[in-house]
Structure formats: structure tokens, C-alpha cells
């Protein structure tokens, strides 16, 4: 179908030194020198070149190398990948180019080289600054490794994000709080706070059903999310999305693309592509269409995703959407009455309860244009 140009590009690197206990992502633990990785990167390079030739990369504004652990595959492969990108699209400083890295595979050479090759935002998988928690999660690094990696990255990068995990069984409020504080001391510019979800097909799930791990506790997770919000806001961070906090100007443009109806191209296993025109939106993953939305459903999705952000949903978008979703205004009013959202400065925005119990409100919004699942 004729479609709007892609404006975001995601590349998936499905390799790690080991699998963490909570992980259900598309990744595998593999020897760093395995030819499987070479083959995979080679394929990725071919696909990037192919897409460039087809003219699909001309409007890319953000790039994200995620995983897995992109830093794990080593400099020579990363160099080939980044060099290919720079030949295939406009990789200039105004284009946000993020890369995920884990503390154990970060070193000075890697930092200098990826920076030189165009990466301008580094996302470090820290998860916690508590060694006991890191061991429980099955991470391949210590708290000290994480600190060293951050300091090392700061030599080149000012845009550094870290992930911290909340509400892990056995994680005390104190442990979580001190991890947030440690991150603040180290001076990162972006922090993502994820409450742990125990997914099926993970070691944690096995431990859970064998009674060896306590289940996550929603009250604790809510409490941790509130601790984070308070601490981070006191230190000049803005919560711009459910899980995302940034200093002014450091919000992740690539992630915002996912939440604002911007078309994106995903390359590599499990990477999702979203393509759309005025009347239809499709999401494709591993060659399968996972979503096929009509215009009304597109609007409902945009509003649902908008409600995950502090910017919320503008009056303008609501006005447009209301033509397709006749019950929209009624639903929004009801959500305001029940305390999930509020209306201010010409936009509908989530309240504290809307942040914490978002599924209640997202469900109602998607219901305005039900799919046929």
C-alpha cells in the first residue's frame, strides 16, 4: 500500500553473554566469536542497503540499536553496522542515534569508536546498584561495573540513559531508593523505571511456580514507582512517559515516535515495523501482520498511547478523532470523573492514578474502536 515515509529505524541485535532470569526478549546467549553473529550482522547490513536503495530511509530522524546486548557483539561488527548506516541514511548530529549497552561490555575503545561513528545516545542496562539484586536478576555485571561504565561513557556522551528495575521480590524500598539516588549522583540525563514483570518461559517464572520466588507485589511496585517519581522530579527530571524520566531536552525522540503515531521500520528478528497511510495502519513482526487497524482504530490507539505521556492528548487530536469515535468525549469525561485523567492547557493528561492504573483507562479507550481479535 502507498504509505507515509518511515521516520524511525530500529535494529535488533539478538545476542547476549547470558540470559537474565527475567528475560523473555528475542535474544540468545552465544559465544562472542560465533559465526552466527557474523552471519546475522551481514544479513542486517544487506537489509539496510536494500531499504536504502528502495528509498525507505530518506526521512529517518531517529535510530535505535536495541537487543539483546548490542555492545556484546564487539567493535568490528558494530563499526560495520554503523558505517553501513552512515552510507545509507543521513546520520548527522540532529539525528538521534541510540545504542543499548550492558556495563560488562563497555570500555573506553568501544565508547570512543561508536561515538565517532555516529551514536549520540547511550542506553545502559544497569537495573540496580545493589549487588544482591543484580545476582538475583542474573545480571552479568556488578554495581561497580555499572558505575565504571557510566563514568567511562561520560567521556564522550552527555546523553546517557539507564534502566532501573522496581518491585523485584526481595528488593527493599531502601535498596530501590538508593539505586535511584546513585543514578542521580552519577549525573545521567535519562532514567527508565520498569516494575518487574515475571513473564512465562523465564527462569523467574519457573522459580515462581516452584515456590522459590515470591510473586511481584502491586503495592510495592506502586510504591517504588512513586518513590522514583518524587526523587527524580526533585532533581530536575521530568516524567514524560509512564516509565521514562529525562532532564529537559533529553527525552528519547525514538521512543516518543512509538507513542505518537510516527511510522517506524524495524530490521532484525522480532523487530516491529509500523506502516500507515491515512486510512490504515499495520504492524508487522517477523513477516507476520500483528495489527491491521482502520482509521477509527488508529485514532483510538493514538489516544491510548498519548495517555501514557505527560503531554497527553491535545484538544486538536481529540477533535479530529471524535469524528471517527463518536463516544470519545463521553468516555474522556467519564475518565476525568473517575480520576484517571484531567484536562489542562488544551490537553487531556493522565493523573497520578492514570499513571499507576493505566490499563483501566487504555482498555476503555481501545474499546471505542474494538478490533476483531
Amino acid at each position: 500500500m502507498p504509505h507515509e515515509p518511515y521516520r524511525a529505524l530500529y535494529l535488533h541485535i539478538p545476542f547476549c553473554v547470558k540470559r537474565c532470569n527475567y528475560c523473555d526478549f528475542a535474544t540468545q546467549a552465544i559465544e562472542a566469536d560465533s559465526p552466527v553473529i557474523d552471519e546475522y550482522i551481514e544479513q542486517l547490513v544487506l537489509q539496510i542497503r536494500q531499504k536504502a536503495k528502495e528509498g525507505e530511509l530518506g526521512h529517518i530522524e531517529t535510530i535505535y540499536l536495541g537487543g539483546g546486548t548490542p555492545s556484546y557483539i564487539g567493535l568490528s561488527r558494530l563499526s560495520m553496522l554503523l558505517y553501513t548506516l552512515s552510507l545509507s541514511l543521513r546520520l548527522e548530529p540532529d539525528v538521534e542515534c541510540s545504542m543499548e549497552a550492558n556495563p560488562e561490555s563497555v570500555n573506553e575503545h568501544l565508547i570512543r569508536d561508536i561515538w565517532a561513528l555516529g551514536v549520540n545516545r547511550l542506553s545502559l542496562g544497569v537495573q540496580s546498584f545493589d549487588d544482591d539484586i543484580l545476582a538475583l536478576l542474573g545480571r552479568a555485571h556488578s554495581a561497580q561495573d555499572a558505575e565504571r561504565a557510566i563514568i567511562c561513557a561520560q567521556e564522550r556522551f552527555d546523553n546517557i540513559s539507564i534502566d532501573l528495575m522496581a518491585g523485584i521480590p526481595g528488593q527493599s524500598d531502601e535498596s530501590f531508593k538508593s539505586s535511584v539516588e546513585r543514578a542521580l549522583d552519577l549525573g545521567v540525563s535519562h532514567i527508565s523505571i520498569y516494575p518487574l514483570t515475571i513473564e512465562q518461559n523465564t527462569p523467574f517464572y519457573q522459580q515462581l511456580i516452584r515456590g522459590k520466588l515470591a510473586d511481584t507485589d502491586d503495592d510495592v511496585q506502586a510504591h517504588h514507582m512513586q518513590i522514583a517519581e518524587r526523587l527524580l522530579q526533585e532533581h530536575g527530571f521530568e516524567r514524560y512517559e509512564v516509565a521514562s524520566y529525562a532532564k529537559p531536552g533529553y527525552a528519547c525522540k525514538h521512543n516518543c515516535a512509538y507513542w505518537t503515531g510516527v511510522p517506524y521500520l524495524g530490521l532484525g528478528v522480532s523487530a516491529a515495523t509500523m506502516t500507515q497511510n491515512d486510512s490504515r495502519r499495520m504492524r508487522i513482526q517477523d513477516g507476520q501482520v500483528t495489527d491491521d487497524l482502520n482509521r477509527a482504530q488508529m485514532f483510538a490507539e493514538d489516544i491510548m498511547l498519548g495517555m501514557r505521556m505527560s503531554a497527553g492528548v491535545s484538544d486538536g487530536l481529540v477533535e479530529q478523532a471524535a469524528r471517527e469515535l463518536p463516544k470519545l468525549t463521553e468516555t474522556l469525561t467519564s475518565l476525568v470523573r473517575r480520576g484517571f485523567i484531567e484536562h489542562s492547557n488544551s490537553a487531556w493528561k493522565p493523573t497520578e492514578m492514570g499513571w499507576l492504573c493505566g490499563n483501566e483507562l487504555y482498555g476503555e479507550i481501545l474499546d471505542l474502536a474494538p478490533g476483531d481479535f
Binding site: 514483570t197 502491586d218 509512564v242 512509538y258 509500523m274 504492524r283 490499563n359 483501566e360 482498555g363 481479535f373
Partner: protein, 600 residues
């Protein structure tokens, strides 16, 4: 007409799963009634649910021609009976249509409660009983032990018990020979006025009510005018015939024969199991013995989860009633659940089967309230009311006394489990009557127990407390006074009628407390706090609280997560659909059954 000396009418009776249906299949196959290529497992179980659950719900009669070793051709009528205690009356009527029975005992399981119960029924019906030890092909078969159990436990000579395997077909020939030589030919007067016993009936949309009958005296043919003695309904015989197993019309059914009869009547309740058919003109007035009105024992509220399905539910119940006179129902309104029906069943299995058929055959999503029994409330003003639903319980001040149905229960177990059964059954307000050793390995315990306790997962508990060894049989034993009270459950301070139940006063506190705990687990957290209370009248006995939901959000929502999230929210929505919104509290279905799972 077949000479009655060449007719044998018999049943195969057994405890559930002892292989009755498979043996019947082999009989059809060996007599050439059904070609092997047309064989379908458990051919006589015509309903899907019967085949799936391996149980027989409706009676069946099939006629086979068998050339015996003496060279003569015999007409054998095999009557397949329901295999569950809920249907004891139907079984007894089927047996009344026979002169003999093959008693099947599993060679690996031995005599069980329903073996005893069915053998008793057959003995009471004066049937010649042929013991058959089945599944002798299994490595764990112990025919000698089983033979001893039959002799000790049932006082039946078992030296000549047939050794058979329905699976391999071994012994089926021996069984048929025993049927011909040991079971007496039907007696009866061919020239007397017509008397025929109805042992099953069902409604056929094209032909009206069809009855399965045994002609006791006289004969009937197409065009005869007949009358049912108990219901006084008259009908014209539109067709008679036999099942082989496909229906085959015959010129007449005469003395001693078993077959089917097409009446053209529109209402199955005019042709009741156990009733006597005679000629409308010049018939008899004396009915065959044993007729009784079937009365439902267990009641439950059935409510459509989607209110729009009320009419479809009504139509479905009407359709099922056409074939099931034991199924009774009346409209019921619940504040909590809206419009639905109070439905009466013969027993728990009957209830499960009907609910399953309503959901499966009619595509309905139903919510069932905890089953209840019929209580007799004697009011201070001298009035007596039959209570089918806890909701209708009058104020305590108006009640003089309450009586509840009791059962005589028979439990067979190995001696090691006597203590376990004692503990459980006393806890369930059972009164011990007596205990007999049927054999060194089998004890028979007799109890009196309130039906209301039995329907509270008693059988499941009995099975698990005896490692599956216990078998249970029961019969109705009349009404007895009990100190019963209505326990109300309140959510957010409002009584929820569909959660009320009737309980013995001494147990009210414990049940109330445990149920509050259970409901706390079952009711998901809502956006606000939900207090749960158990109360008698205005007095609160127990309290719990479902805390308000504090977090319900998935933090990660990138690229492919969005598709996953959509699906998850859809699933959540589907989950909500299975819940009932009461006031503003979302209550899952299990809540209404929680009372059944309460274990003190």
C-alpha cells in the same frame, strides 16, 4: 410375533467405568447387528456428553438376533441403563422391563458401591443375575479375588461367573449363552388386555413423543388407541418397532417384546418413565407396580452472563425439557445477577450435564449459583413452604422450624480408610448407622447425611481422602428438622442475594469466616476498597477487605510491545466479560461457587 420362549430381555449393569458400554458394543458386533466398519465406540451412548464422559444418561434398548449353540434363533433385547446414582429410578424402571441382568465387575477394581447398589436393584426386581468379570485381558486383573468379593459382598454364586473382555471380545459368546440358558423367558398373557411398561421416553421434533416399552400382556400395533394410566393421556399408536440399533418398524409388539412406540404426543411429560400403557378401550385399570413421580433434589440459579441471553436461555431450557421431564425450572430474579431461572435437577451430575449442554449446544455463557436443596420451612402461622432458593427464606421470627432432606449413604472402602471417612462425614453432619465387612478388603459403611452437605463437594473430598478408593451410593431418606439459618454475604455493605446460602447454625461462623477469606482471594482488586462481610440477619460474623488496586500498568511499550499490549488489553476485557458487575464491584464467576469449596 416371536414366541416368548425365544425372547430374552436383559440389562447390563455395572459401576461407572467398569466397561458396560464397551461390552454392549461387542454384543452388537458379534451378533452381526452392526457391521464392524460401522462400529463407533460406545454406540449406545448417543449424546456427545455421554461418549465424552463415558457415562450413560438415557436408557437405550437394542434388539439383536442371536443363534445360540443349540441352533435356535433368539430375540435378545439388551437394555442399557444409566450408570449414575442420580438416575436410580430410571435404572429401576429399565430393570423392571427385564428378566435378567449381567452384572459387570471390573477385574482390576472389584466390587464398588454402585456394583452393590445396582445388584440390589436387580435383586429387588427379581432378576436372574449373571456375574461377569470384565477386563480380564489387563495385567492387573485378579478374577479370583473379584469372584470372592462377589460371593462375600453380594451373596451371589460366582463360580460360573463369565470371564470376559469387552476390549478383545473374549467371553462375549459365553455371556450370550448364559443369557439364553440362565435368564428366564418372559411370562405374560398374549390374549389379555394390553399392559406395557414405559422405561424411557423422549421428544422427537418430527414424530412427537417416542417411548421405549416392554409389553407385559397383550400386544399393540399401529392404529391402536392407547392410554397412559398415571397421566391419563390418550394417543394413537403411529408406529411400533425395534431398534437394531436403527429404528425398524414392525407390524406389532407383542407379549414379552421390547421396542419403541411413536405416539405423536407433543408433551413428553404425558409419557412418563414407569407409567403403564393400556388400550384406551377395554384396557386395564391396574398399573404395573413401581411408578413414581420423579422429583428434583438439587436446585441452582442459572443466569446468563449477558442479559441479552435471557430469552435464548429460556428457549434452550424449553427444548431440553421436551426430553427431560425431570428438569424443572421457573423464572428467578436476583438483584445481583438480573433475570434467570431457578432450575431443579435429579442430582449433581444431572446439573453438570444440563449446564454443559446449555453452554455447548446452545452457545450460552451461564453463571450458576451454588446448588441448594429443597428445604421445608414450617412457619409460626402454621404454613409450610418449600424453599428452593436461599433468597426466599422468611425472617427468622416467622420460622417455627426448618427441615432438610436426608440421604441414606452407602460407602465402600478398604478398611484402612474407615477413620478418614468417619472424620469427613461427621464433619459434614453425617450420622453413622452401621458398618459391615463385605470381604477382608472391603468395608461397607452406612450413614445418614443431609443432602445439602453431600452436594458441597463431599464426593470429591471423599475420593481424595481415600486415595480414590471410596465409592458412594445414596438414596433419599425423607426430611428431618435441622437448626438452619440463612447466611448473607455483603459486598461494600450491600447483601448479594446470589451469594446467600443456608447453613447449620453451629457452622455458620466457620463457614462465614472461611468464605470471606475465599472471596477475598477470588474477587480481584478494584479501583476502590471492597469490604466483604458474612452476616446472619443484621449480625456480622466475619469480615475481610479487598484492598483498592494501586497499580495496573505495563511499563514497557515500544514497537512490538504495542501489538502485545493490545492483545493483553483485549484479554483483560474478555476476562471482565466473564465477571458480573454487581453494584460497581466486578465479581468473577468462581465467587458464586466458592461456598462449595469451603473447607473447614
Amino acid at each position: 410375533m416371536t414366541d416368548p420362549t425365544h425372547i430374552r430381555n436383559f440389562s447390563i449393569i455395572a459401576h461407572i467405568d467398569h466397561g458396560k458400554s464397551t461390552l454392549s458394543d461387542r454384543v452388537l458386533e458379534m451378533t452381526g447387528t452392526v457391521a464392524s466398519r460401522d462400529m463407533q465406540e460406545q454406540l449406545l451412548d448417543s449424546m456427545d456428553i455421554e461418549r465424552e464422559r463415558g457415562i450413560t444418561i438415557k436408557s437405550q434398548a437394542v434388539r439383536v438376533e442371536y443363534t445360540a449353540d443349540d441352533g435356535e434363533v433368539y430375540q435378545l433385547n439388551l437394555i442399557d441403563t444409566p450408570g449414575h446414582v442420580d438416575f436410580t429410578y430410571e435404572v429401576s424402571r429399565s430393570l423392571a422391563a427385564c428378566e435378567g441382568a449381567v452384572l459387570v465387575v471390573d477385574a482390576t477394581q472389584g466390587v464398588e458401591a454402585q456394583t452393590v447398589a445396582n445388584a440390589m436393584l436387580a435383586m429387588n426386581a427379581n432378576l436372574e443375575i449373571i456375574p461377569l468379570i470384565n477386563k480380564i485381558d489387563l495385567p492387573a486383573a485378579e478374577p479370583d479375588c473379584v469372584r470372592a468379593e462377589i460371593e462375600d459382598g453380594l451373596a451371589l454364586p460366582a463360580d460360573d461367573a463369565v470371564l470376559a473382555s469387552g476390549k478383545t471380545g473374549v467371553g462375549v459368546h459365553d455371556m450370550l449363552e448364559a443369557v439364553v440358558y440362565n435368564i428366564p423367558a418372559p411370562q405374560g398373557d398374549a390374549d389379555a388386555p394390553l399392559r406395557a411398561l414405559i422405561f424411557d421416553s423422549y421428544f422427537d421434533a418430527y414424530r412427537g413423543v417416542v417411548a421405549l416399552v416392554r409389553v407385559v400382556d397383550g400386544s399393540m400395533k399401529k392404529g391402536d388407541k392407547i392410554r397412559m394410566l398415571a397421566t391419563n393421556a390418550e394417543a394413537l399408536v403411529e408406529e411400533v418397532g425395534a431398534r437394531r440399533p436403527a429404528e425398524t418398524p414392525l407390524p406389532s409388539l407383542s407379549v414379552g417384546e421390547v421396542g419403541y412406540l411413536v405416539t405423536g404426543l407433543k408433551d413428553v411429560s404425558q409419557v412418563k418413565v414407569g407409567d403403564t400403557i393400556t388400550s384406551a378401550v377395554g384396557g386395564v385399570n391396574e398399573p404395573l407396580p413401581g411408578y413414581r413421580e420423579v422429583k428434583p433434589m438439587v436446585f441452582t440459579g442459572l443466569f446468563p452472563i449477558d442479559g441479552d441471553q435471557y430469552e435464548p436461555l429460556k428457549e434452550a431450557l424449553e427444548k431440553l425439557s421436551l426430553n427431560d421431564p425431570a428438569l424443572i425450572w421457573e423464572p428467578e430474579t436476583s438483584h445481583a445477577l438480573g433475570f434467570g431461572f431457578r432450575v431443579g435437577f435429579l442430582g449433581l451430575l444431572h446439573m453438570e450435564v444440563i449446564k454443559e449442554r446449555l453452554e455447548r449446544e446452545f452457545g450460552l455463557d451461564l453463571l450458576a449459583t451454588a446448588p441448594s436443596v429443597e428445604y421445608h420451612i414450617y412457619k409460626t402461622n402454621g404454613e409450610m413452604i418449600s424453599l428452593h432458593s436461599p433468597q426466599e427464606m422468611p425472617d427468622p421470627g416467622e420460622i417455627e422450624r426448618v427441615e432438610e432432606p436426608y440421604l441414606k449413604a452407602k460407602i465402600l472402602i478398604p478398611p484402612d480408610y474407615v477413620g478418614a471417612v468417619m472424620d469427613l462425614t461427621v464433619q459434614r453432619r453425617g450420622t453413622f448407622v452401621t458398618m459391615n465387612y463385605l470381604s477382608p478388603t472391603t468395608v461397607e459403611m452406612l450413614w445418614e447425611i443431609p443432602l445439602s452437605e453431600l452436594i458441597m463437594d463431599y464426593f470429591d473430598k471423599l475420593k481424595s481422602n481415600t486415595k480414590g478408593y471410596a465409592s458412594l451410593d445414596y438414596e433419599f431418606d425423607g426430611y428431618k428438622p435441622s437448626k438452619l439459618v440463612k447466611l448473607d454475604i455483603l459486598l461494600s455493605g450491600k447483601p448479594i442475594d446470589a451469594l446467600s446460602f443456608i447453613v447449620h447454625r453451629d457452622k455458620a461462623y466457620d463457614r462465614g469466616r472461611v468464605l470471606c477469606d475465599k472471596l477475598k482471594e477470588i474477587i480481584p482488586r478494584q479501583m476502590f476498597e471492597v469490604p466483604i462481610q458474612a452476616a446472619i440477619g443484621g449480625r456480622v460474623l466475619a469480615r475481610q477487605t479487598v484492598k483498592a488496586k494501586r497499580k495496573d500498568v505495563l511499563a514497557k511499550c515500544y514497537g512490538g510491545d504495542i501489538s502485545r499490549k493490545r492483545k493483553l488489553l483485549e484479554k483483560q476485557k474478555a476476562g471482565k466479560k466473564r465477571m458480573k458487575s454487581i453494584g460497581n464491584v466486578e465479581v468473577p464467576q468462581e465467587a458464586f461457587m466458592a461456598i462449595l469449596k469451603v473447607d473447614e
